[in-house]
């Protein structure tokens, strides 16, 4: 029999049978991360996603480049999050622009928005209006606290949601009077994956029944769903709070420094794992090992053992004995990790506008319908002409008039909004609306 890993590898590296969401039309009015990441996933697996932005500055995530570093005038974080999308820019303050948005929504299978709760109603594209003209639509509203309830109008961002939901109180050192946020916008990314799951469940149901629906997902509830602390609190009357590097469900558990100055995470979950570790460190004694003081006592012994060994020695025994152990990597080690390149978690991608850039792989690896990146996020209004022609059958003259009236628009010169300096409108048939991104 073939080796199991080779068998699965041959499935995953095969061509698959096509795109899961081919023909699915998605419209989004989104900014920052929570909303856009939903369209990102759908677009990775073949949906046609039209993202509507404001002319000029566009999605305000465009300006939020990491440490202010842009590449070819683009913010790569934005470019990756908005890959495979058709980017248009219409000024929603203008009545004509709102009519265009309305017409696009009539044709959409899915609509995603993460504006302040209730703003879509003021724009004339609230669920109650859209469902009348497009009853099959799956309409998703993303917000900090949900679309209804006393807090629904409160402003939110990743850190705010982490604060309101009490997640903020969980990360930090027990003896330092500070809290740290879960980094890299966990309070946006996790809720957006949950909202994506909700959209897909609704799409599945619609395939069976023809019925669309309205979906409301909040950042706070998404975070609270996985806080076992609430149940713990009602049982014990105590808040778990900050526990440093201890996972309160795991003992011993922590991050330890090795002989060669590296950091290693060890997290024992089961008795057999504990016994395996005990075979290496004989003075580890069990006896209700999940008690807080006991975890600390065990951790002290593990720390001593770790500091006498190199990271490689520790990983070797972990492999042999089956103990949950991994090195603690940093950004640089992540991007240089050969496993990630072999797996496809990192890909070298050549974009027509931005050039060759390493990008993260697909959200999930799938054998039959693998996702694919086709192009990276484009400048503000870049696909105006293409989308208005393709979706709404507009003529060049009509589009020109809309441009002159300021109904639709393009980038300003702020970094993150514009094409590379060497780019030429004249030579770009996609920009002119004469050709699609993939021919």
């Amino acid at each position: 029999m073939t080796d199991y890993f080779e068998f699965i590898g041959s499935l995953m590296k095969g061509k698959g049978r096509g795109e899961a969401f081919k023909g699915l039309k998605v419209v989004e009015i989104t900014h920052f991360i929570f909303g856009p990441n939903i369209g990102r996933v759908l677009a990775q697996f073949g949906a046609e996603v039209v993202k509507i932005e404001t002319p000029g500055e566009g999605d305000r995530y465009r300006i939020a480049a990491i440490f202010g570093r842009f590449y070819n005038r683009a913010n790569l974080l934005y470019a990756i999050l908005n890959a495979n999308k058709y980017i248009i820019a219409a000024d929603a303050r203008n009545e004509k622009a709102r009519r265009i948005i309305f017409e696009l929504l009539k044709k959409a299978d899915v609509f995603v928005e993460n504006l302040s709760a209730g703003l879509v109603d003021a724009m004339g594209i609230g669920y109650d209006r859209i469902v009348k003209v497009n009853p099959r639509i799956i309409y998703v509203s993303c917000s900090g606290y949900g679309q209804y309830g006393p807090l629904s109008r409160m402003p939110s961002f990743d850190v705010a949601a982490q604060g309101v939901s009490s997640v903020a109180m969980k990360t930090g050192w027990e003896d330092v009077d500070e809290f740290y946020k879960l980094p890299d916008y966990f309070g946006d990314y996790l809720p957006s994956m949950i909202a994506t799951f909700a959209v897909l469940s609704a799409l599945y149901y619609r395939e069976k029944t023809g019925k669309g629906q309205y979906i409301d997902v909040s950042q706070c509830e998404s975070l609270m769903r996985f806080m076992y602390d609430f149940t713990f609190y009602t049982l014990t009357g105590e808040e778990i709070g900050k526990t440093g590097n201890i996972d309160p469900c795991s003992s011993p558990s922590g991050i330890f420094k090795t002989k060669d100055g590296k950091f290693v995470a060890i997290s024992v979950l089961t008795n057999s794992q504990f016994n395996a570790l005990k075979s290496l460190i004989p003075d580890l004694e069990d006896g209700n090992r999940l008690r807080k003081e006991k975890i600390k006592e065990l951790n002290t012994k593990v720390a001593k053992w770790v500091e006498q060994r190199t990271i490689d020695e520790i990983l070797e025994v972990a492999k042999k004995l089956g103990i949950p152990v991994q090195p603690v990597l940093d950004d640089k080690e992540v991007i240089e990790d050969p496993w990630r390149w072999e797996r496809g978690s990192l890909l070298k991608f050549r974009d027509r506008l931005l050039g060759e850039i390493p990008i993260p792989g697909m959200i999930v690896e799938m054998s039959g319908t693998p996702g694919r990146i086709k192009w990276l996020g484009r400048p503000v209004g870049y696909h105006n002409r293409l989308v208005l022609k393709k979706w709404l059958n507009m003529s060049d003259e009509e589009i020109k008039k809309l441009e002159e009236e300021g109904v639709i628009g393009y980038w300003d010169e702020m970094p993150g909004t514009a094409p590379p300096l060497i780019w030429s409108a004249e030579k770009d048939d996609v920009f002119k609306g004469e050709k699609d991104e993939e021919g």
């Binding site: 679309q147 402003p155 500070e178 994956m193 076992y228 526990t243 991050i255 603690v328």
Partner: protein, 402 residues
Amino acid sequence: MKRDEILMKIFSEDSKPLALEDVTVVEIADENFAAAIAGSLLAEMGAKVLRVELGDEAKNVTPFGVKIGEVGIPYFVESRNKEIVKFSDEVREKIFSADVVIDGTLPGYLDSMGIGYRQISEKNPKAIYVAISPFGHFTSKAKEFRNVPDSDLTAQAYNGYPTLIGNPYLMGEHSYPLRAGLWAAWTMAGVNAAVGAMIALFERLKSGKGQFVDIATNDVLAVVTTFPAVMGFLFEKPRGRFGTIDYLFYPFGYHKVKDGYIALATPTDADFRALLKILKRWDLEPDWKFTLDRISDDLERIKGLDEELNKTLQNFTVRELLKRSAKLRKSKLPFFGRFLGRPVIVKINTLREVLQDEHWRVRKSFLNVKVNGKEVVVPNSPIRASETPPRVKKLLGKEISE
């Protein structure tokens, strides 16, 4: 009718169908809670989830050993709507006929038992197999580390997550990489696995074919958040701990005030100006006017602004800050409002404050469940859906009584 009332009616759960009523799932997760979370999400949406247990240790994985009867808290919470059985020959048939099989065991283990994707897909080509493990079920490293079990903390570590957490100015053990205080990697992996299962289920309606879906908990955060790839490409050095400072916006973090802690964010320059107005610190404006002035990989440079802001913030109570912030927004025009700027300021809540908040009661964000005569709180599904609202009806195989 007011907007809230209309929406509450739209989202009411009364006698509505469930989205995945016709889907059968077998979850073989044991103590891999990422896999259990994937099963839970499908179960909340109505899939018939059979949790098949090979071992008995998942019940013991619980904060500081606290149990509800015989089982730990994560086990209790993630048992939602599931039927739980021990593995036996009778169950074998159900594994082969399921629409979705979730495998949270060591890669290749179920294959060695004759119930892996190789055997299942041969008998049931429509089967969708969702594997969740540290390095996935393919690549040379996955094979090399096949016996290393999964855990949230080790997955966080390999994603590069803990190196980003903590105060950069602290020394000694406080300068170590720091764990995210909830199961960040396992949660993201579980949700992604459920998304993968749904992509496959949706596509199967057209093609009639199943497929293999692979989740590696060791890369799920790095892939989803996109940051390490961009960072590695644009910079020579990795990011370190940034504490409450951020690399896209400033301020964007937690700050101590007179009577507690707040989360503070000023995503635009207008928001930052509004903050300075509230704090009466216009003197800071010239040097820190633009977003790009306020972020830097040079921590020493930012320290100055951070110290000044922290010093000033401690003169205010949460209430004073909220009051001043509320006064800022006068524009009634929805499309102009944001140009006026307004910092996002919210109080950091304790668990008790969250549970007492009327908002979450109105939204039914938590379920009050009676177990052994005691009332415990369990988080509800985070999804509101008008036609097919997800529901939690059973815990540990028993109907719940609220």
